[in-house]
Subunit: 197 residues, 2 copies
């Protein structure tokens, strides 16, 4: 039955995610995935063409999930400023919850140089992120709270600031400073969008 098969695939992806989070992209073996999924080794090859296929689907899952959560976070907010705050809050949601996600995502970033498929998936992710940025900026311009000339460029800048802050956050080890990175990022993005120069 197709439903059962889809469930198995999800189970394997979840296992792969946990394995990568724990051991890092390049040291995860098919056996690891099988162990985390509590199935035998052959199963992975039964539901996926090969290892890269598993990891491609995993990247798709991760980026889609990140985007959906970000998109959902701004949905209910009214003003551009509220949306922006909700957006940043969602990115830095909590050490336990998000650190793992972005840390696995970072593993993929370095693989993109050599895996065209990963790059494509990431490109889609970027475009999704940029569209969130555009939405917030455009609304802010209408409300008169932001002042930017080039919406496209500003959207890219927002993502740059988020990515850059995320990396320093991931490297910082110190979970206590988690909140400071968030407000930090928020203030910087506000400066980017509100500067009148």
């Amino acid at each position: 039955m197709a439903k059962k098969a889809e469930q198995r695939r999800q189970q394997i992806l979840k296992a792969a995610f946990e394995a990568v989070a724990a051991k890092g992209y390049d040291s995860v073996t098919l056996q690891d995935i099988a162990d985390y999924a509590e199935v035998s080794k052959g199963v992975t090859n039964y539901y996926f063409k090969n290892k890269v296929d598993v990891f491609s689907h995993l990247l798709e899952w991760i980026t889609t999930r990140i985007y959906e959560k970000e998109a959902a976070s701004i949905e209910l907010k009214e003003t551009a400023l509220e949306k922006l705050e909700a957006y940043i809050n969602q990115v830095f949601v909590s050490p336990e919850e998000n650190k793992t996600f972005y840390s696995v995502y970072l593993d993929y970033l370095s693989q993109m140089k050599h895996q065209e498929r990963y790059r494509q998936i990431n490109q889609q992710f970027y475009e999704n992120c940029w569209s969130i940025g555009r939405e917030i900026i455009t609304q802010g311009l209408e409300e008169g709270v932001f002042h930017v000339e080039d919406v496209e460029q500003a959207a890219i800048s927002i993502r740059s600031m988020i990515d850059g802050t995320l990396i320093q956050w991931l490297m910082s080890q110190d979970d206590g400073r988690h909140a400071s990175y968030k407000s930090h990022c928020h203030q910087s993005v506000l400066r980017l969008l509100q500067a009148s120069s």
Copy 2:
């Protein structure tokens, strides 16, 4: 002779760098390094304790080199605005020259989760970067061209913007848009430092 030995070690590090740039961190073998250095496999193990030792020294070399070039680029400039521009110019110096460097650096970023030694080296690198930022900001404040409350925070923000832009640049494939990422980053950082909000 100590001099000869040091030369050999440099030769091996250079080979390792080329190998990682070409094949990616996790698929480089000791044999690859030997091949790029045009020596036999035994040499690498003679001059370095093991593979991680080679790669640790390589990361140290890369981050030191990036920092030195950045520090040198602002040395000769007079004003804070000139220094800032020179700094950003140095980061986005040219696709051929720097893309490889940062692309290898990105490979390391994802390894830091599991290699304490790498994290330490990177921490030193960050502190060097922050110190460059601080220097530029402090001078800009004195000259009255920048307006920020917290110098430390602003320095971190600059690096966030640079790192974030670098990543999107590395992923963009399109070398033609290289210049636009540079001016892009420059304008954003200016906005961060000059905003009067």
